[in-house]
Amino acid sequence: MHNLRTVTALGVAAPRIDRFDHITLAENDGLALASVAARLGKEAACHAALGNLLGGVPDIGRTILRDPEAGFWMGPEQWMIGAPRATHEHLADQLKERFGDAASITEQSGAWATFDVTGAMMREMSERLCNVPIRRMIAGDVQRTVIHQLGCFVIRREAEDHIRILGPRASAKNLHHALLTAALALA
Amino acid sequence: MRFSGLRVIKEALTGHKGWTPAWREPEPQARYDIIIIGGGGHGLATAYYLAKEFKQKRIAVLEKGWIGGGNVGRNTTIIRSNYLLDGNEPFYEMSLKLWEGLEQDFNFNAMVSQRGILNLIHSDAQRDAFIRRGNAMILNGADAEMLTTAQIKARYPFLNTDDARFPIKGGLAQHRGGTVRHDAVAWGYARGADSLGVDIIQNCEVTGFKIENGKALGVDTTRGFIGAAKIGCAVAGSSSRLMAHANMRLPIESHVLQAFVSEGLKPVLPGVVTFGAGHFYVSQSDKGGLVFGGDIDGYNSYAQRGNLPVVEDVCEGGMAIFPAFGRARLLRMWGGIMDMSMDGSPIIDKTHIDGLYFNGGWCYGGFKATPASGMCFAHLLARDAPHPNATAYRFDRFERGLLIDEKGMGNQPNLH
């Protein structure tokens, strides 16, 4: 086993948390990610594999939140699968075995920085950040959008006041800065 | 009537009774030697030079609305000749020289103001490219100077050099560049052409061409058929629509370019500044408004208006280099329709139809080109041969691969 240590997207050893009365902004460093794209003509098999992985095929704009794996729709015949890194360090390889030649699997763990935004002012905050109809979103809705010129996924989680934001990892510091600024502007 | 300071004083003392219309409002005649379609800057300039430099007679300019109502009346008024490619630079330098003598030539103060244009540099690669361009300008007889950041800061002390995302690493200046009072260009050419006998016919829209066995014989208009030996089309923005009447498809798309002006302010900007790491260029008019612009909206459009994302993009660029402009107020935004060509350069050429000539595809370089465009189009119409400075602006360059692509964006018009 190797002994290389990871750093979070913000470039430090432990995830950062910023707590305020109205908003809590927490980096989530525990996610392993891989995308699944159905092979042409193998869609049915791919859906079946998704089914027994997630208990269903995530619909357009939707997430299936299920432990340990969760998945959301990325594009036509394409999904992102997420799971705890602690147990799924090799998620892409695990998925390859499950999907065989029904899908193309691409490791995405390194590509994204993940932040959880919770708190009473979560809606006001997202209104200052991105063009998602946050007040109309229900649990499990996901939308790809732009935050501070960065392409991000915004996932509405179970809790009424909780969204999860996946943004490009190389710009994690900028994304965090944008989120923090918005939170402070609403304090 | 000749304009002069004395004349103004005389009229002032006699109740301004003596001023006469700047141009006549003639009825169209049945036939002309040369018809120019389009009463914008290029069309009016063409008519003016046809009459003045090429001694042509019986010329008419047909304008579907009011003269000067197109892009000559809705641009950011910048003139410059800081081009890179041999196909372009001599043409634009000729244009700049014509600007320099224009007002005395047509006896109308268009406020040609050579307060200089500065292109900011933000990376080493950009510097390399600008050095190549500056050299091309000088080798073509134009002026260019490389400025250090310190020199720039001395002229624009409020330029953001402290916490800039893309540091300013110098700039390429053309001191002979500047701005012109755009409406006055149309009016000056119109008045000049009119005084030389050119019929300027407003509210006369061309609805079709009369073409028989490969020869153009005249135009159908909302005011009847008008015959002509030669027909020159100068309707940039509507080129595809007009030439469709001649069953021509062009290497052109129409796109909207927005422009902006702020409330009047006491002088802050001496010259024109363009931001090399964003989409923003700005100058200040004599009335005090900051006149600025950026990129086209990017989608085909014939609506003379744009949308919010580009407004924001432009203002973000402005705030990035001039954070002091934050408290100036945007007064008005408008849109003009550009002939975006497939290589970003214009066309001044005969068509395959005998007697039908075309001038268009100016992208957003049209205003500064007005005098040279008029001179070269007049040359082509009068002599049936391209002006030496416009030989590259041919129709067949796309088919033959003789492209003039300043930006290197290829055959996607909205990227030029």
Binding site: I60, G61, M74, G75, P76, Q78, N131, Q143, R144, T145, V146, G151 | S238, S240, R241, A244, R249, L250, P251, I252, E253, S254, G298, Y299, N300, S301, Y302, A303, N307, P309, M342, F398, E399, N411, Q412, P413, N414
Partner: protein, 95 residues
């Protein structure tokens, strides 16, 4: 502008990247004797209509679909939006 994405519903056009006339889907046959002429026409000549226009938009900040949008260039009104891949197939594009 708002583009009514066939899968995602209304989305701001700022999320998209524009390319131009949807005829760019109809790439000519490189093997034809008239290929040179065909590709010149394909690459350079445009109808550029003042009115309804079928055009290609890429959902860059979205699901990465290329769309064929039918939009009026005079009013900016949008009457129809399709997945370009479906359009390409319906126009018989093969390998």
């Amino acid at each position: 502008m708002i583009i009514n994405h066939p899968l995602l519903g209304p989305r701001d056009s700022a999320e998209f990247t524009y390319m131009g006339d949807a005829r760019l889907i109809d790439r000519p046959d490189a093997g034809s004797d008239t290929a040179a002429q065909d590709f010149y026409d394909y690459g350079y000549l445009r109808d550029n209509p003042a009115g309804w226009h079928e055009e290609l938009w890429f959902h860059e900040a979205g699901d990465r679909s290329w769309l064929v949008v039918t939009r009026n260039t005079l009013t900016h009104e949008i009457s129809d939006v399709k997945l370009a891949r479906d359009v390409a197939r319906s126009r018989g594009r093969k390998l």
